[in-house]
């Protein structure tokens, strides 16, 4: 998808100035959404600058989609304010937002091209050449004349991205955009988003696939139970947690003795996927002395690996720390 990215977004680049990059693209303040007595989103606030690419993380039911829907003007918050490009929402700046919220849907009796043409007419000001351009960008030009009923899930996702880019939005709101894509498709999708973001488009993307977010974004917002848990650079999230705990993978001649020694030290070892090593999170202050203490107890450690914290493990531990099931 990247080979045509430049042509797809060259005008976006020309619109972005350095001054814009300090301006707010999406801002939420005290956002709350209640359905009856259930509070789905509770006092969520963030400020995403123009040109940023931000990941939005949270388990199922955390309130991600509801938050994205509120930002896209689809649903009204019960409390709080939303701004798009520094203007209150709903307002005229919503026209500058491209969205792909949950599974992209289309009219099945129309072709892929027809669906894009319909949306182009609806939005207005989109030349016909732009439809060909975004179709090439998502590598769907050869399937554009097929009816949607013949599209695979992956093709629908690509067409959804093409549709979101149709009117050269300044802000992209994407909810689980890689759902249903195969690994190659995911990689291509990631590259597409990178090239779009490189041209100055703000991308706010939620995903369950943490490895994808890790490769794509520099900043993450974590939400759980409708409440904000973390908002900051990705490295801060991993470092912050890494500072508190260190993860070790250990193998010993006597695995049972190792396990017992770790438990005696007040730690909670777990087996790895292959059941060959024990994994244990150690408070940072005790990490350096762990191996010597095990040796003192007569445990002969064969192998010890100090793991670098991945986003996934940091994320899961963040949820655990908050006292919620991960």
């Amino acid at each position: 998808m990247t080979q045509t990215a430049d042509t797809a977004t060259d005008k976006q680049a020309s619109r972005q100035t350095p001054a814009d990059r300090s301006a707010s693209a999406l801002r939420a303040d005290g956002l709350r959404k209640r359905y009856g007595r259930t509070t789905v989103v509770d006092d969520v606030g963030f400020d995403i600058k123009q040109g940023e690419i931000v990941g939005f993380l949270g388990p199922n039911g955390a309130g991600k989609t509801t938050t994205l829907r509120m930002m896209a003007g689809l649903i009204r918050p019960s409390a709080g304010t939303r701004e798009v490009l520094e203007r209150p929402t709903p307002g005229p700046t919503l026209r500058e937002v491209g969205t792909m919220i949950e599974e992209p849907s289309f009219y099945p009796y129309m072709t892929g091209y027809g669906n894009l043409e319909y949306v182009a007419l609806l939005h207005g000001g989109v030349p016909a050449s732009r439809i060909d351009e975004v179709l090439r960008f998502v590598r769907m030009e050869n399937a554009a004349d097929k009816k949607l009923s013949a599209y695979s899930q992956g093709m629908r996702q690509r067409l959804g991205l093409a549709r979101a880019l149709l009117w050269r939005p300044k802000v992209l709101i994407l909810d689980e955009p890689t759902n249903g894509l195969d690994p190659v498709g995911i990689a291509e999708f990631r590259e597409s988003l990178r090239s779009v973001a490189a041209e100055g488009v703000t991308v706010f993307v939620s995903s369950h696939i943490l490895a994808e977010i890790e490769k794509l974004v520099e900043r993450v917002i974590v939400i759980e139970g409708g409440q904000l848990l973390f908002d900051g650079p990705l490295r801060d999230l991993t470092q912050q947690l890494d500072e508190q705990q260190v993860r070790y993978q250990l193998a010993a001649t006597d695995a049972a003795a190792l396990q017992q020694a770790l438990r005696d030290a007040g730690l909670e070892p777990t087996s790895d996927e292959k059941n060959t090593m024990l994994r244990v999170d150690v408070p940072k202050g005790e990490a350096d002395t762990l191996l010597s203490r095990l040796a003192e107890q007569g445990v002969q450690v064969l192998e010890a690996r100090r793991e670098t914290e991945s986003l996934e493990s940091a994320y899961l531990r963040l949820l655990k720390q908050d006292g919620r099931p991960s």
Partner: protein, 316 residues
């Protein structure tokens, strides 16, 4: 204004790609005229000149129904007489496409992000729906002219007729249908289901009107005794005669049913008096101006509720 025009263009783009319309419109534009021509031909071939046609009434009847003018009138009247009337079926189908399908295909989120101006979306869709309905009515009129002209080749018919009046009634029926379309939009939008929305469009108004009639016929009358029975019977009759004048379903088809009196007279019916039995059954005893005002009030009520709901409701 441009957002409104954009929505109309997009919705019409969608409508021309919907096969359902071609089938339904084909019934009105092709099947109905062909059937009328067939009836005209059967009348001429089998009844004309027989003992039953002593005064050459058959030729007159064929002129009334199968001439270009007669067919244009029949194309207006007949869809309003079926049960449920074909006109409301067409209105329901149009509403289902423009409002119901967005929900069934989960397209609302796309529509209102591509065009965030919800007023423009709603009224653009309504305008597009009314354009499609205008195409339906104009097509019916033109098809009548074409098929009626073809019929002149083998039927004793001609172009004569009060064309200005019938074209005016087509236009008026379109205006009346605005309230019908708003009602259909409202039902499909509120009920959030195309099948249930369509059922509601067909059956809710008659249901409410029936219940209201029963209510008016049973409440507000004194206990019956030998002295007041006659007066209360008159009052009841007047109540039941007056009520339908303000009912949605009766007024909606006012312009379509207007020429019924002439057609009924052509067939020898007694159409004397606005409250005569034939007039009451067929519903052509409505004053068009009053009907127009009544439908205007309905349109206002439906339009306000629909707009309020459409602008405020969350998109799932």
């Amino acid at each position: 204004m441009s957002a409104f025009v954009n929505v109309i263009r997009a919705e019409l783009y969608k409508a021309v790609r919907k096969r359902r319309f071609y089938i339904v419109f084909g019934l009105q534009w092709l099947l109905l005229p062909v059937l009328v021509l067939l009836i005209g031909w059967l009348l001429i071939a089998n009844v004309s000149g027989t003992f039953a046609d002593t005064g050459a009434e058959v030729a007159m009847i064929v002129q009334e129904i199968a001439s270009p003018f007669g067919m244009a009138r029949v194309s207006l009247v007949l869809p309003a007489l079926l049960a449920p009337p074909f006109l409301i079926i067409v209105i329901a189908l149009i509403a289902a496409l423009f409002m119901g399908e967005e929900r069934s295909q989960n397209m609302w989120k796309t529509v209102v992000t591509a065009q965030p101006n919800r007023f423009a979306v709603l009224f653009g869709k309504l305008a597009a729906a009314m354009i499609v309905l205008a195409v339906f009515l104009i097509g019916a009129l033109l098809a009548s002219v074409v098929f009626g002209t073809v019929g002149m080749l083998f039927l004793p018919t001609d172009f004569s007729g009060d064309w200005g009046s019938v074209i005016g009634l087509y236009g008026l029926q379109w205006v009346f249908a605005i309230a019908g379309m708003l009602f259909a939009f409202l039902m499909v939008w509120l009920i959030r289901s195309i099948p249930f929305g369509i059922v509601a469009i067909f059956f809710l108004p008659p249901l409410f009107e029936g219940l209201y009639s029963i209510y008016r016929a049973t409440v507000g009358f004194d206990r019956l005794n030998r002295f007041n029975a006659f007066l209360q019977a008159i009052e009841l009759q007047q109540t039941l005669q007056n009520l339908p004048r303000y009912f949605f379903t009766n007024n909606l088809y006012g312009p379509s049913r207007e020429p019924l009196g002439e057609i009924a007279r052509a067939f020898g019916g007694d159409t004397s008096g606005v409250d005569g039995p034939l007039a009451n059954i067929l519903g052509f005893n409505f004053d068009i101006t009053r009907s127009l005002i009544t439908m205007g009030v309905y349109a206002l009520i439906f339009g306000v509720i629909l707009t309020w709901s459409f602008v405020r409701r969350d998109i799932d």
